[in-house]
């Protein structure tokens, strides 16, 4: 049947991609390995936004908080419950997912600006809870140590390459799962939610539950990316999850095209590339400290506005349009 072979093809494609990344990781330097890990992490985070906003039509500015939930869950799993790091990442997904489910049920009754603002408030308030409860480590935060690479990978296998492997593997598994999900009946249901909730309800969809499920799923993926983030910075603290992170993710999603998972890696690449580009700009033309610190934010915001104005439905659509115009 056509469908079965499409799924098989997809799985094959992901496995091949995995192998390519494996081989590539041997050839690039440590900096690129580290950056590559960040790209994988951002890919997951952006995918979670695309799922929630692009597919089920709920705008959330609070994904930094969701990442924090996953991150803290992961850290506590390793430090306090002595779980294996891989299990810790799974816990990150689960705990964030449960949190997202609760949040999703509350959020299901909210629309548009109310949802946006509420998630904004969440993003700002959740990290401050860490200051209140000592088990969460306060301002300094907690340590997050994913462990060193196993010995059998050889002496030349650096910590950064290990990060790269873990991030890419997690991302590949999650995204493959997500793509399959979105191609199935659930994906169609989500899209129905987004485009016409009234009609969806009339067609028998339990809109509230679907919305909460989408939220939960999105939260779980965000939680995983949060776990990966703190793995990469070796520790979790409230300051790792500022409101600007939520904004960054949203920007990445819009720039990629928030309505489709295609090309989600591009958004992640952009997010990782911008600080580098900003650095080279500054080293070339110089500038005050204010300029240096503010430049990346300026670039991201400008990119976002340009995307909204000129490629609102993603750069893919833009190319599509151009092709049609030529004919």
């Amino acid at each position: 049947m056509l469908k079965a072979s499409a799924t098989k093809k997809r799985l094959f494609g992901f496995i091949i991609l995995g192998w390519i990344l494996l081989l590539v990781s041997d050839r690039i330097g440590e900096l690129r390995q580290y950056q590559g890990a960040f790209v994988a992490m951002y890919t997951l985070a952006i995918a979670s936004i695309i799922l929630l906003t692009g597919y089920s039509g709920q705008l959330s500015l609070g994904h930094s908080a969701l990442m924090a939930v996953g991150a803290y869950a992961g850290a506590l799993s390793i430090n306090n419950f002595k779980l294996h790091p891989a299990i810790a990442l799974v816990m990150a997904v689960l705990i964030a997912g449960i949190f997202g489910l609760l949040l999703g049920y509350a959020a299901a009754r909210l629309s548009g600006p109310y949802l946006a603002g509420t998630t904004l408030a969440l993003a700002v308030s959740l990290p401050t809870i860490a200051n209140q409860f000592p088990v969460l480590g306060g301002e300094q935060g907690l340590v997050f140590d994913i462990g060193t690479p196993p010995a059998r990978l050889g002496e030349d296998f650096s910590q950064y390459q290990w990060f790269f492997w873990i991030s890419c593997l997690s991302a590949l598994i999650m995204i493959w799962f997500l793509v399959n999900l979105l191609g199935s009946r659930y994906g169609r249901e989500f899209r129905a939610l987004r485009d016409n909730p009234t009609a969806a309800q009339l067609a028998g969809l339990n809109v509230g539950r679907q919305k909460a499920m989408a939220f939960s799923l999105s939260a779980g993926i965000a939680g995983l990316s949060g776990g990966l983030l703190v793995m990469l910075i070796s520790g979790v603290s409230p300051s790792a999850f500022p409101l600007s992170l939520s904004f960054l993710l949203l920007a990445g999603a819009v720039v990629t095209g928030v309505y489709s998972l295609k090309g989600v890696i591009i958004g992640a690449l952009v997010l990782v590339a911008i600080p580098e580009i900003a650095e080279s700009v500054v080293s070339r033309i110089g500038g005050s400290e204010g300029f240096t610190t503010s430049l990346p934010g300026f670039m991201v915001s400008s990119l976002l506005i340009l995307a909204v104005l000129f490629a609102p439905n993603g750069p893919g659509h833009l190319l599509h349009k151009k092709k049609h115009l030529k004919l």
């Binding site: 039509g57 603002g117 700002v124 209140q132 928030v258 300029f291 915001s301």
Partner: protein, 298 residues
Amino acid sequence: MNQFITAVLTSLSSGAIYALMSIALVLVWRSTRVINFAQAGQAILTTYIGYEAVTRSGSYWVGLICAVISGALLGAGIDRFFMRPIFKRVNTGPIVMIAPVVATLALLGIIQAVIGFIWGLSYQIIEAPVSTEGLNIFGSIIAFSPFNLMVLIAVTLSMILLTILFQKTNIGLALRASAYAPEIAKLSGIRVDAVRTLGWALAGAAGGLAGMLYIPGSNLYPNAMDVLLVFGFIAAVIGGLDSLFGAVAGAMILGFAVNFSASYISYKLVFPTAFLILILVLLIKPRGIFSSSKGRKD
């Protein structure tokens, strides 16, 4: 008892400032159906302009006037040259729902970055025109200064002026009509676009005033008013996005809740308290406490 009085007074003065921000948000919401996240950016930028005016002229009042006027101009400019083109360009596809939100967020980012470019990130000070030391009432010092009093008076005056404007003048009628029913307003010959820009100008002025009343108690830096954005938004939602009265009432409720919880429970729980109130209101009365039952469909 002292703690109680202090809490009440600080609640009043914080509530007053939240009220200005939430009024600004409600003004824009009613006329354009957009939550202007960039409001905090506009407010802080105009406060920097006020700061420059204060530094050069040596007078706080000159700075205040400059901030309010530049706030109005900036608000009008943003509506005319930023929001209108965006609405015109982006009118197909599912992006329509989130484009305005994303646009105002991006604008916030740009404004804060530009402030960083021009003024840098270090803290600046704007001196208050009157004392910020606690008043001495019957021998004991309370945490309420002449400046806090000035803030209350300024905000109350603005409230009164705005109410008169909206309820008693022709322009106010045009503003209300355009917000409630833009089509009917157009068919009556009202230039709805111009009226909407006026709404943004008023909102911008309110934001500028808020900044100049807020900063003298603390420091001026690009992200100084982010907190006010969140609180202003929560206040507006609690009160019901459709009414100015609700905006003020919501701000007061929030001010009291936040200050009392900070005073009696822990100052670290300020944000979670605010968030909790928001969730409670949204779950019980999603359209806001003071919205009318024949509320407008969103």
